[in-house]
Symmetry: C2
């Protein structure tokens, strides 16, 4: 049956996606303090939870920096639920999508989008002209991830000039997403050093564009792991983390000096459905419950004597060979999610829990909104 408010957690049918509200609030407060200390705006990325109430809560708890979305479908969902300051950190490509973007930008107080090529600039200019709007534009610059983004140097300046000259576009600044550092840094000082290096590249781009007579108001950076480091650089104006209210096994493994199990607010409670032998049991949470798009596996929340060893779609194989406990069909086991963004996207509902009771029910409103 559907979960209800005030229901004891122990009565919930499983598998169920829980968020520990106390831990989530502590995490949001921590990042608000980091942003404050670094004198940058915190604009939360809602691709992680895809829910407008949580987006509004983050916005409120982090001094109203607005929110960030990754798809136009997410923007629509947030806009129709009352969020009025949105940055789409993604290129809008395709005639229908450009139409949708232009329409949406008239529906909210502030909506900016992202370009990284002459093609994306020209297509956006044409659409904005046809819709008689001025579109706010951020230029994505590649500071090391080598995904999207224009390389620093003359080409970046040329694109900034192209935006500046476009009659229906307003150049707001740059996005310098530094997520490559996650693959390269292993210690706190390496995070610090590599994020600073990436921001030095960003600063060069800003200097070049401003030397061409175009002011760069915004320098936006990601993400939960890196932005608390890159945000220290004076060129940065805004950080866009998404996972920080929740954390996950990926963050736990990446930054053990900052993230403990207690900081991981998003878990899934499962039920043992089979105990075939002393070394193995099976729970009702597999790859349709925990997203396994990263190498990490679910990690038990309050214990370390068992290991989530393997998954099929609705089965989780648990290795109990190192445990002294006897397990029975019906026992419940709770696991920290491996990758919180893609895991929440598998569920209809995030169940907010405090003092072992359901306190909030957040629908994953923009679930599956990949268009």
């Amino acid at each position: 049956m559907a979960p209800t408010l005030y229901q004891p957690v122990e009565d919930l049918e499983t598998p169920a996606l829980l968020v520990d509200i106390d831990a989530m609030e502590r995490n949001i407060e921590e990042y608000a303090a980091v942003a404050d200390e670094n004198d940058v705006t915190l604009r939360s990325h809602i691709k992680t939870h895809k829910n407008a109430e949580l987006a509004a809560l983050e916005d409120e708890m982090t001094d109203g920096g607005g929110i960030c979305c990754q798809t136009l479908g997410e923007v629509e969902t947030m806009a129709r639920n009352g969020i009025d300051d949105i940055y789409l950190s993604y290129q809008v490509v395709g005639e229908r999508k450009l139409d949708r973007f232009c329409w949406l930008s008239q529906k909210v107080e502030k909506l900016a989008t992202t370009v990284d090529s002459a093609a994306t600039i020209d297509l956006l200019q044409d659409a904005a002209q046809a819709h008689e709007i001025t579109a706010d534009v951020i230029l994505e610059v590649d500071v090391g991830l080598h995904r999207t983004g224009v390389a620093p140097g003359p080409e970046a300046v040329a694109l900034a000039e192209r935006i500046d000259e476009a009659a229906n576009l307003s150049f707001d600044g740059i996005l310098a997403y530094e997520s490559h550092v996650k693959a390269e840094a292993e210690t706190e000082s390496e995070f610090d050093e590599l994020c600073w290096e990436a921001m030095e590249l960003g600063e060069d781009v800003v200097d070049d564009i401003e030397a061409a007579g175009i002011p760069v108001d915004e320098v936006k950076v990601g993400g939960t792991a890196t932005s608390r480091y890159s945000g220290k650089h004076p060129v940065v104006t805004e950080i866009n983390p998404g996972m920080y209210p929740f954390n996950d096994v990926g963050e736990l493994e990446l930054r053990p000096w900052e993230v403990s199990k207690d900081d991981c607010a998003a878990t899934i409670v499962t039920t043992v459905i089979s105990v075939p032998d002393d070394d193995r049991l099976v729970v009702d949470g597999g790859s349709k419950t925990f997203s396994l798009d990263k190498p990490q596996m679910p990690v038990p929340k309050n214990r370390d004597d068992i290991e989530y060893a393997n998954a099929s779609e609705e089965h989780g194989w648990i290795d109990t060979s190192n445990s002294d406990e006897s397990f029975a069909v019906g026992d419940r086991l709770e696991f920290i999610v491996p990758h919180v963004c893609t895991t929440i996207n598998l569920h209809d509902l995030i169940i907010g829990v405090r003092d072992d009771q359901v306190e909030e029910l957040w629908e994953v409103q923009a679930r599956g909104k990949v268009r």
Copy 2:
């Protein structure tokens, strides 16, 4: 905008999950013929597509063998959409779920479930008694996967007797899921040999249970890769494949002698959003569009000069270093999905395509129904 019938595929917003209806129908016909040849019932597993219309189509095209579900939520979705012969190949654990199961079993003509322990048998008997029903029960036997299932031998016989003696349970037979063969076999003859070995174990269990005076009506086996081999064994009465109408990169790599790119009916059409340099482009399909729970990556549908190299949530990095073609923002690229079951579960809609036009729109009705 939402896809509509008769829309040209080239006008669809991306990323979009397509199914080539001609290929899908050929695949279903092929498995119907395999089942026919082996004189087994084909009961399709709907966990792959989670849609009642496709379930009904498979049932009709494969001589009405009924369908198979993996969660109670899937059973509910299928039952309320008119499917009346369902086998739940999963253990029902928890008081509320047992209540739901018993209620559902009165709503459809035939509903069987799965047990593999004294605990699951006793709990089901108690619930069936309380609801004054007789529950149809399949005993899961571990023939090599080492996931759920009782080991062959005296314990399996003891559980069959326990079911037989339970006043409100009816013993229908065994499930002998042989999916371990996928990890062990590399050639057609190895599939043949290892599936046969697994079925010999299954036959031993049948002999033992029948020697105890309990008839074993059903011997059910999985899955798309193995059941065309295991189904040859005379002990098998029913095969339960799920992926066979669609195939995917996993099946393509596993059984190249049977599955070609043309047999892969499920694809995702994406749009190029960025072409940062000659060796790389980025499309609008990442890990929230293609499930990456297995090692396989998406494979280009109609070409082999480019490679899907890496993914983030909404970005696919494409390596174009071996291609002579020049790509531009706005180009469309189509990819075969790596794992079709978990990928469909990421989408709201399966877009059925014939002759480059949208012919069917199938809602993923039981999406996310993990409970």
